[in-house]
């Protein structure tokens, strides 16, 4: 079934009683070409592109809970490619370009809204650093614009003009924006399912088949499943799952929180990120403000978040937008993110044969979903690491060739 105005009209006439489930409730088979562990955006996108671009049909996505219920459903839905290093810019910009066409590609409205993202500079030194990012982005072929304080206040009328962190300048990436996170997961799931991928929910991986540095399948809560290749895309839980295959990874898991206010009329039509307050925010189409900040203070697998961080984020937001002090926060939650020393993802094969990694996105995996899926599918199907993700291999921690994006990340995590 394709979504269209006609389908909507037809279903309206039948009282919306005849919509079909968007994907099958697949039962695990005994064996697959590729098993993807983790039914988040990255896992589902990988499955979709495996089937779509490479014709790999026997693919399963195993999800211990429900699809899109981990970090895909817990992020602040920002999509951007304002990175500093050429490797990162190439990868993330490819992702933004895939996002631009994703609603069309999946026949699923992911509500990608390219409203820009503005990074602020609050001092002369910030300004110099930001100018450097501006130049780097230009050199990387990512379009961006420099904004002076007057332009910034025009763009953000509610911004505090008497802030203790005065605005010196801003850097905007106009093509950045936000997308509906659930729709991204569901759209990929529906697309993958239509191409024959088995999406198996409530199926937790508890171990691996094989041994001696080779993986031949997975042990799950619903029985053993053999697989030609296994791909881990489980974000903050990668260390835990990989340890079952005897693999040690350069990952530390932290809780990252996000907050949503009650919905209000349109007050803010872009995304703003302030390094001084450590806060970024945007407004959804529904009218809620979506607010994000820094990581929690210590390693954690608890998806709940810490009050100090909440307090700091709210204080930072009010410094930027005093008018929002009258808003109530409706929801607060945390996702477990896989933080890596150089703030770049880890992609591709690992020392355990047939085991592939897609992890290490830390605080920014959502924006990378289409490109992550695309490049991992290429890597799994052809056995050749996709050129865009070659710099992000696990071996970089041994060779020392890190992709140190930490300096270019908006919020100091």
């Amino acid at each position: 079934m394709r979504f269209s105005a006609l389908a909507l009209a037809r279903n309206a006439l039948t009282g919306h009683q005849r919509w079909q489930p968007q994907w099958r409730d697949a039962q695990p088979q005994a064996d697959y070409d590729v098993v993807i562990v983790g039914g988040g955006g990255h896992g589902l996108a990988t499955a979709y592109y495996l089937a779509k671009n490479h014709g790999v049909k026997r693919v399963a996505v195993l999800e211990k809970g429900w699809i899109g219920g981990g970090n895909t459903g817990r992020n602040t839905t920002i999509v951007r490619s304002n990175y500093y290093l050429p490797e990162s810019a190439a990868f993330y910009d490819f992702s933004v370009k895939l996002y631009e066409k994703l609603s069309q590609e999946l026949n699923y409205n992911i509500m990608f809204s390219q409203r820009g993202i503005i990074t602020l500079a609050h001092s002369r030194h910030d300004e110099e650093t930001l100018r450097r990012s501006f130049n780097a982005m230009r050199l990387n072929g990512v379009d961006c614009e420099w904004l002076e304080p007057d332009e910034l206040f025009n763009r953000m009328p509610r911004y505090n003009r008497d802030s203790r962190y005065p605005i010196h300048a801003g850097l905007n990436q106009p093509r950045a924006g936000s997308a509906r996170h659930d729709a991204v997961a569901w759209g990929y799931a529906r697309g993958a399912d239509a191409l024959g991928v088995d999406i198996i929910q409530n199926c937790e991986v508890t171990g691996f088949l094989g041994g001696d540095g080779v993986v031949t399948g997975v042990r799950t809560s619903r029985g053993e499943i053999r697989a030609g290749k296994v791909c881990l895309s489980v974000a903050g839980h990668t260390s835990k799952v990989a340890a079952q295959a005897g693999l040690r990874l350069p990952i530390t898991s932290y809780a990252l929180q996000a907050f949503v206010s009650e919905p209000v009329k349109p007050v803010f039509d872009t995304v703003v990120l302030s390094p001084a307050t450590g806060v970024y925010l945007s407004q959804t189409d529904k009218g809620e403000l979506v607010i994000g900040g820094a990581l929690d203070l210590y390693p954690s697998y608890a998806q709940r978040g810490n009050f100090h961080t909440l307090e700091g984020v709210v204080a930072g937001m009010l410094e930027m937008f005093p008018a929002f002090s009258r808003l109530r926060l409706m929801r607060q939650w945390a996702g477990i993110v896989d933080v890596v020393r150089d703030s770049s993802p880890i992609f591709g094969p690992c020392p355990v044969e047939n085991l592939y990694l897609n992890c290490g996105f830390g605080t920014g995996g959502f924006k990378a979903i289409p490109a992550g899926g695309w490049t991992m599918a290429h890597t799994l199907a052809t056995g050749e690491v996709h050129p865009l993700i070659k710099p992000f291999g696990l071996e970089r921690f041994t060779t020392g060739r890190l992709v140190d994006e930490a300096a270019a990340a908006g919020i100091a995590h």
Binding site: A243, P250, S253, A302, T398
Partner: protein, 98 residues
């Protein structure tokens, strides 16, 4: 939120402290015998367990002393506070999931 019993200052709010990550990591040596893989393991690879974690903490806004904690990464329960040079304490009966 944690209340951490600093061995030098007594119980204080977690905001005064800074977590320094996994403890008990030994620097490999002597230097010329250390392979790249060993060095990578020392610098970057971490246990990152879902369970009991033995970690270093600094009382940054207090006495500025380092000490060790045994903390559960899901419940955040702190079960042992011990000196930097002390060995890992037993935090769980027999099975020792750490």
């Amino acid at each position: 939120m944690l209340k951490i019993d600093c061995p030098f200052c007594g119980p204080r709010d977690e905001a005064e402290f800074r977590c320094g990550g996994e403890s008990h990591i030994q620097r490999p040596g002597p230097h010329n015998d250390v392979s790249d893989a060993q060095w990578a393991d020392y610098l970057y690879m971490r246990q990152n367990p879902q369970g009991w974690h033995f970690e270093r903490w600094l009382h940054a806004a207090g006495c500025r002393q380092w000490f060790n904690l045994a903390r559960h990464t899901v419940t955040h329960e702190v079960r042992a506070i011990y000196a930097m040079t002390a060995p890992k304490p037993q935090v769980e009966a027999a099975e020792g999931r750490a």
